[in-house]
Symmetry: C2
């Protein structure tokens, strides 16, 4: 039996999945991400974890088709990262180091791109070859698949739509130095920011005036009918829906999948996004279907395993 590994590298833990070639998950587990000393142990730790699992299962090296790894940073076509925000790595040829340390064939990709591949293989995008997956977390990421290929771009920065400008009148700066980036409105952080601004500037009564204000409490308030929270949701939907209408004329997707922490609020977020998407969509893109991501935290290992099987 041929197997492959999908490895999802995060700032705190590395998730690993052992898969059959048909996509069946045989086992998954986690190891800590040791980011100290420029993350020098991350790759050796992964290699050790893979080898131990093979011994435990009595699977030979020759039966491993390959290893896919996703990284929370832009990854170029050669599997090289230039810098990472939370792994300790600067420049690193991840593919080459991992291949030399493990002896396996290795594919490396960006985490948002990999999640999109995972959803296309086993999740919301099954059977589709043109999709956009938006991950709404601390930031906003996108994995874009066109004609079955995940877009990488010159330096691996394709799909950085968190920095799509959606408001040329914005006065507050985004972390990237620009003003008006999508991330300032559609990420968990952005939703919290918008809610706090409204709480400060408006007198509307709101349950958000008591307790913690974050993406979760905002959506809970939306569901409970809170007027101020619903205004925040309209802003969220307008910025993201309009941005997606623009994105759709670029890549002509069949479906748009929404994932990440914010999507845990459920189908209600799709209502707000679709309303504004439809308002602005080009006629050729009007029948795009919106879906919530289905694979949750496993999207990374599943997408990475799929990449491992690619030629």
């Amino acid at each position: 039996m041929q197997v492959c590994f999908g490895v999802d590298v995060g700032g705190t833990t590395v998730k690993i999945g052992l898969f059959k070639e048909d996509g069946t998950l045989l086992e998954k587990w986690e190891i800590p991400t040791r980011t100290e000393h420029q993350g020098e142990m991350i790759i050796p730790d992964i290699v050790q974890a893979l080898n131990e699992k093979l011994s435990e299962k009595g699977i030979s090296h020759a039966d491993v088709t390959g290893v896919g790894i996703d990284i929370p940073a832009p990854v170029d076509k050669d599997g090289v990262v230039q810098q990472t925000a939370n792994l300790g790595w600067g420049y690193k040829n991840v593919k080459q180091e991992m291949e030399e340390a493990s002896g396996f064939k290795v594919k490396v990709a960006n985490d948002a791109d990999t999640a999109a591949v995972g959803e296309m293989w086993q999740g919301a995008g099954k059977g589709v070859s043109d999709l956009i997956m938006i991950t709404l977390g601390t930031g906003v990421g996108a994995g874009i698949i066109v004609d079955g290929h995940s877009l990488t771009g010159k330096g691996g920065a394709a799909g950085e739509i968190g920095h799509f400008c959606v408001n040329y009148q914005e006065t507050e700066k985004c972390g990237c130095g620009n003003r008006g980036c999508l991330e300032q409105y559609a990420s968990a952080t952005g939703i919290t920011r918008m809610a706090k601004l409204r709480l400060e500037k408006e007198n509307t009564p709101s349950t958000l005036r008591q307790g913690e204000v974050d993406s979760k409490t905002v959506w809970d308030a939306v569901k409970a009918g809170d007027i101020l929270a619903k205004e925040v949701a309209e802003d969220f939907g307008r910025y993201l829906g309009h941005a997606l209408a623009n994105l759709a004329v670029v890549t002509d997707p069949e479906i748009i999948v929404i994932g990440g922490g914010v999507s845990k609020a459920g189908p209600i977020i799709l209502d707000y996004i679709e309303k504004y998407y439809k308002e602005r969509a080009f006629f050729a893109n009007r029948d795009v279907r919106f879906m919530l991501a289905e694979l949750g935290n496993d999207a990374g290992i599943i997408g990475a395993a799929r990449l491992a099987l690619d030629e």
Copy 2:
């Protein structure tokens, strides 16, 4: 010697090129596009023209590697068009009809996509695998190449960036029914429209108050230092430059090539575009190079010939 044909179908003429496989153009010529009767003679006319050329040159059918055809309409992955604005065709399986009529292997693609492939093969984008080519003509089209692949999308509508919304405050309608589309500002028609609006609303003296107002006279006036024309150029540059900054975060290009009738004004248009692009570009996209298209009217036949050689 193996040869291939590149066929560029326009509303008035069909341009045809006979190429060696290494890309050398052996001969090019034109035939009229007979659009009457739902364009029923367009494909037979092309087949006849190809066969006559082969006879004339003494080249056998077996020595033709393939035929690439570009069409001024969205073309899906199967070589099918749903409708055309100026060929008379409604739904047409161009690939299948052309293969059956000619006996050759046929590739069909959209004209803006094909021009981008041409520029990547022999023009401004030689050696580059990630580029965006913008065609500024009556409308605004784009051919987007990522990781060496031209983006098609679900129904062939990828790259329809003429309908990228760049101004949510616009009150005038675009031909597509939306308001604020890039085409309303950056096409030849859009430049003319903006100039006329300013001439009407403002008292600024301008040479444009005498004679014809069109994209050419506007750019001539810009070069002569006309204040009103320069304001139009700033608007053009701002809308297009900002849109390209947003497009760049989606596809991470190495170069952006500007072609089409408006680009005949020369390098001055790049100055206006780059100024606003740089103002808004995400840091990973700041070093994108801007270039004018180099192949002019031959981009279509060259790109189509390249497609004919693809597996």
